[in-house]
């Protein structure tokens, strides 16, 4: 195995890890690429955090104009959010800022101890699949790249939280294509690749046990996990809430799933599929993961492999040989 430059730091309320292999001859070193990526993550967070009043995203959400000039990064984030909403049929809705704040997630929860998931599951309401917002307010957002503007009705706020880490991983990955291999891990949303990328394993954490019961072998592409176990809290009225909202109600979704891991061509796609599947519940979630593959973790803790992951590992055996053939010449 070739040596890789391993960088870890905290950003976007999570850990970030970069594993970067050898550059092309004459290219910037892996250490230099990691430094550049770290600077980019800092800029990304500064521009797109909804918890920072000084961020460009907060400025957009406050702006009374219908057309708001926006940086390429913010336009890209909005475009990614709309793409995720479209891919998920409105389940991954980037316009649920009011609902998430009402649920109790108005400030960053980085470093805050989560409420016990098992207790939350025991006290949670009846399980049912989430559904898109019939009003589909996200459709009222658009990006005008020619003018460098974002267009939306004033007061309709955007939240990049659902897709931010996946988008960040993909944007960093785009700058690392000339390295022999790389891993970009933004809070568990992971992108792999490189010009000589070889298969490597990614462990999947179980949201209830904390164990790692599955190992996925990937050479390139994205893998992401959405779950209830980290951003979960107890409200003042004693009920539990978490950060994955049912767009049709604006309330935390309790669908019978506590975690979903999805594969995708990009981390953004994987993250979108994992969130959509968790919100859709077991039945529809299974269908959403069928094409790319993934796994569902049910409330009971049972892990269900979906799509290409569901097939048993293939064992290749040589054809049976006659005893005579088995005798060496």
């Amino acid at each position: 195995m070739t040596a890789e430059h391993d960088t870890r730091f905290e950003a976007m309320g999570s850990h970030v890890r970069l594993l970067i292999g050898k550059p092309t001859p004459g290219g910037p070193s892996a250490a230099a690429a990691a430094e550049q990526a770290q600077r980019f993550v800092a800029e990304f967070e500064a521009a797109l955090s909804r918890f920072d009043p000084a961020s460009e995203l907060s400025a957009l959400n406050r702006d009374p104009r219908e057309r708001v000039p926006a940086s390429p990064l913010l336009r890209q984030a909005v475009r990614a959010g709309l793409w995720a909403a479209e891919l998920s049929g409105g389940l991954v809705d980037p316009t649920l800022v009011d609902g998430i704040e009402r649920a109790g997630y108005a400030t960053s929860r980085a470093g805050v101890r989560p409420a016990p998931l098992r207790s939350a599951l025991a006290a949670g309401p009846e399980r049912r699949p989430a559904a898109p917002d019939p009003a589909a307010r996200w459709c009222r957002f658009s990006v005008d790249d020619e003018r460098g503007e974002i267009v939306r009705p004033p007061g309709l706020r955007f939240d990049s939280g659902g897709i931010g880490k996946g988008l960040a991983a993909d944007l960093i990955a785009a700058s690392l294509q000339d390295y022999s291999r790389f891993v970009v891990d933004c809070g568990g949303d992971i992108r792999l690749g490189g010009r000589e990328a070889s298969p490597r394993t990614v462990a999947v954490e179980h949201p209830l046990s904390g164990g790692r019961p599955y190992v996925v072998s990937l050479r390139a592409g994205g893998i992401a996990t959405s779950g209830l176990n980290v951003r979960i809290w107890r409200r003042e009225d004693g009920t539990f809430a978490h950060h994955l909202l049912d767009p049709s109600t604006g309330e935390p979704a309790w669908t019978g799933l506590v975690g979903v891991t999805a594969l995708g061509a990009s981390t953004l796609e994987a993250e979108t599929l994992s969130k959509a599947a968790l919100l859709a519940g077991p039945e529809r979630g299974r269908e959403l993961l069928a094409a790319r593959g993934g796994l569902l973790v049910h409330d009971s803790g049972r892990v269900e492999l979906c799509g290409r992951l569901a097939a048993p590992p293939r064992v290749r055996l040589p054809r049976p040989v006659a005893a005579r053939e088995a005798v060496p010449a």
Partner: protein, 104 residues
């Protein structure tokens, strides 16, 4: 048949004895010789004594799928699954250096 004729056809005890001894010694010598050259004249255990058949080693290979860049669908040899299942849900099952996907 008269008594005289019956006694005339019966061989004496000594020739019978010595003939039997001679035959015994010849057969014993023959068997000893065959044993000495590694041949079991009874035929029993011939298979066991034969050189063991060398069987081909059967190698089990778990084929794991790789998601290629930009596609996420094609596989290394068709539709093999991109997953291997670890024996137990232990963190130690994976090298520390490998990434972990988790909710965040």
């Amino acid at each position: 048949m008269t008594e005289a004729a019956r006694s005339k056809r019966r061989p004496g005890a000594a020739p019978v004895f010595w003939t039997s001894m001679a035959l015994f010694c010849v057969l014993l010598g023959l068997l000893t010789y065959r044993f000495s050259i590694g041949q079991d004249p009874s035929g029993v255990g011939a298979e066991a004594a034969a050189p063991p058949v060398r069987k081909k080693v059967i190698v089990r290979r778990v084929v794991t799928t790789v998601v290629p860049a930009g596609a996420g669908e094609a596989t290394s040899d068709g539709a093999a699954p991109p997953v291997t299942e670890a024996a137990a849900p232990e963190a130690e099952a994976v090298p520390v250096s490998e990434p972990v996907t988790s909710s965040s």
